[in-house]
């Protein structure tokens, strides 16, 4: 019997919008900024309810990051909203100097991350953002898996004092985590216990990891599934607790292999108790136009890829 049920597909960006809307009511210090993508980021509810706390900056992301940094001086908690590409690579120096190095309490909220934005193609499909952001000292990096978790994460980061990168996506995906969950930054969640292989996934790949675990179970393989919604700080304890038991790891993410979750996990393993690891990630490539499903298939991020990676990881155990 399935332990996790899809409550009905929803987009994670709408989870962000719902969380922001709640924050608007509960925390008068929360302010929001958007660079001409209010509808795409699902920020309309906040903007309509709190026009005095919503700043439309136009197509000027660098300025948006600087304004957000300045808004913290005097006690506001700014949430910036634009696509992941324009939230990171385009404004890296502004984030680095005015937010991260300056220690400003800005929440950088980024939609349309990864391949699943689909037909717009590689210019918008950033697959390097986790790496860019995790390299910045003091930056927290979060990539929740579904609508409910994105909403919970949005609410949780307002209580965290410091810069946060919150990554989510465009398509409707399975919504399977609890609607009333409490989100704990930096705590990986064990979704399913197993003994043969650990599958550590983040973002949209978490549901695929659960699907893969079912297929593996039919083949007599017991997979443990961990949801690494926080990439930084990394929950090394949860990782090692699992891999010491299973003896091998599959990391799964909608991101470049270089700089992603898998690389962080590999580093933690190498420093402590190494074990075979297989990477389900984009391998040094840009994306392209296509439907989300076609792209996930073509670039090796499908459920079948996770299954094959798990079998390979198990085969490499000494």
């Amino acid at each position: 019997m399935k332990k996790y049920i899809d409550q009905g597909a929803k987009d994670t960006r709408s989870g962000f919008g719902a969380g922001l809307s709640e924050l608007g009511k509960s925390n008068p210090n929360v302010v929001a900024l958007c660079a001409d993508l209010t509808g795409s980021l699902k920020m309309n509810a906040f903007a309509d309810a709190h026009p005095e706390r919503f700043y439309q900056v136009g197509i000027a992301e660098a300025n948006m990051m600087g304004i957000a940094a300045g808004l913290t001086i005097g006690g506001k908690i700014p949430f910036t909203g634009t696509f992941a590409n324009f939230s990171t690579g385009r404004v890296y120096d502004q984030i680095r100097q005015s937010i991260a190095y300056s220690g400003k309490n800005v929440k950088i909220c980024a939609s349309h991350a990864g391949l699943t934005l689909g037909e717009d193609g590689a210019t918008h499909q950033i697959l390097e953002d986790i790496g860019l952001m995790k390299m910045l000292p003091g930056m927290t990096v979060i990539n929740p898996c579904d609508f409910n978790q994105t909403k919970a994460a949005t609410i949780a980061i307002a209580e965290h004092n410091g810069p946060v990168y919150l990554r989510f996506g465009r398509p409707k995906v399975a919504n399977f985590t609890a609607p009333d969950q409490k989100f704990e930054i930096g705590k990986a969640l064990s979704l399913q216990e197993g003994s043969d292989v650990t599958i550590a996934a983040t973002g949209h790949l978490v549901w695929k990891a659960l699907e893969a675990a079912e297929i593996l179970a039919e083949k007599g393989i017991s997979a443990e599934v961990l949801n690494f919604h926080t990439i930084k700080p990394l929950d090394e304890e949860a990782l090692l607790r699992s891999t010491v038991k299973t003896g091998c790891l599959v990391s799964a993410e909608e991101h470049q292999m270089a700089g992603g979750l898998g690389e962080s996990l590999a580093g933690a393993l190498m420093r402590t108790t190494p074990c075979p690891q297989e990477f389900v990630a984009v391998n040094d490539s840009f994306g392209e136009s296509g439907t989300p499903d076609q792209l996930m298939e073509k670039y090796g991020l499908s459920t079948a890829n996770i299954v094959r990676a798990a079998e390979k990881a198990i085969s490499r155990k000494a």
């Binding site: 136009g58 000027a60 660098a62 600087g66 304004i67 001086i73 005097g74 220690g103």
Partner: protein, 282 residues
């Protein structure tokens, strides 16, 4: 509020601090620092309301200043210390390991008086706009000041910010442009001619005024007072302030050559001979 003689005395000491700090570590940026000495002294000892003895990042009910061209940190540090933000003896640590007085200003080491890191150019106006918007949300009627180099205006983010501030009537903001006409590779006209800076800001919807003698204390005060009088009227205010890079030390004045190099022992002695010690060297 100090009288103008006192301001001249502070300015002379500030210039001594600048050349001594840069000489001590044989690095730093004396040219722009010397050129903006009158501006900093007038701002911190005449214009702004603040509590230096009780620095608080939020700066509520205080005027705020953001230095966007962070490389002129020597003048900033000298003026902050002599305004009471931290002991003047700490100027001796400028650019040395474990100092709070980093090469470019930062909040990272907790130096009182500094509210944002700067150094990578073009970012300070955006930050100041954010701080100005928070003041409006908080019902705080104090002002936000910035300083930018004229060469810095070649950064695109400045114009994103300028467009935003005018369109959104950020009228509690006074941005001053240090128009010394110089940048690292030569004159601004030679490197990338910008035409009329004042007309550009006007075209972006700002109220503008100019200070023709940016190294004359009375002129700087007059300009800053005039700018302050124009706040709260629906437009951000830009001051185009003409200065001489290296002002106050004859062999450094009016050239980009002293943008980022330090004086030798002999040159330091020469410079200090031109600058009266008024408040005591650090």
């Amino acid at each position: 509020m100090a009288d103008i003689k006192d301001l001249h005395r502070i300015a002379s000491q500030t210039r001594r601090d600048i050349v001594r700090m840069v000489h001590a570590v044989q690095s730093g940026h004396p040219g722009g620092s010397l050129g903006c000495t009158e501006f900093f002294v007038a701002l911190y000892h005449h214009m702004m309301d603040y509590d230096a003895s009780n620095f608080d990042m939020d700066g509520k009910q205080e005027d705020l200043f953001f230095l966007s061209n962070g490389h002129i940190s020597p003048v900033y540090y000298s003026v902050l210390s002599r305004a009471g933000y931290f002991p003047v003896e700490e100027l001796n640590t400028f650019r040395k390991l474990n100092t709070r007085l980093q090469g470019h200003p930062t909040t990272h080491e907790g130096l009182p008086g500094v509210r944002i890191a700067s150094g990578s150019l073009g970012q300070g106006m955006s930050v100041a706009i954010g701080a100005a918007l928070t003041k409006k949300l908080n019902g705080d009627d104090k002002l936000v000041y910035t300083l930018h180099g004229d060469g810095e205006l070649q950064e695109g983010q400045i114009w994103e910010a300028a467009m935003y501030a005018a369109a959104n009537k950020v009228d509690n903001l006074i941005s001053t442009i240090d128009a010394n006409g110089q940048q690292i590779d030569g004159s601004t006209d030679d490197v990338l001619a910008m035409g009329s800076i004042e007309h550009k800001f006007q075209a972006f919807g700002w109220d503008t005024l100019s200070i023709e003698k940016g190294n004359d204390m009375a002129s700087v005060i007059e300009g800053l007072e005039a700018a302050k009088a124009r706040t709260g009227k629906g437009k951000p205010v830009a001051i185009i302030m003409k200065t001489a890079m290296g002002a106050g030390v004859d062999f450094m004045e009016g050239t980009h050559e002293w943008h980022g190099i330090a004086p030798s022992d002999d040159q330091l002695a020469n410079a200090l001979g031109q600058l009266e010690e008024t408040l005591g060297d650090y």
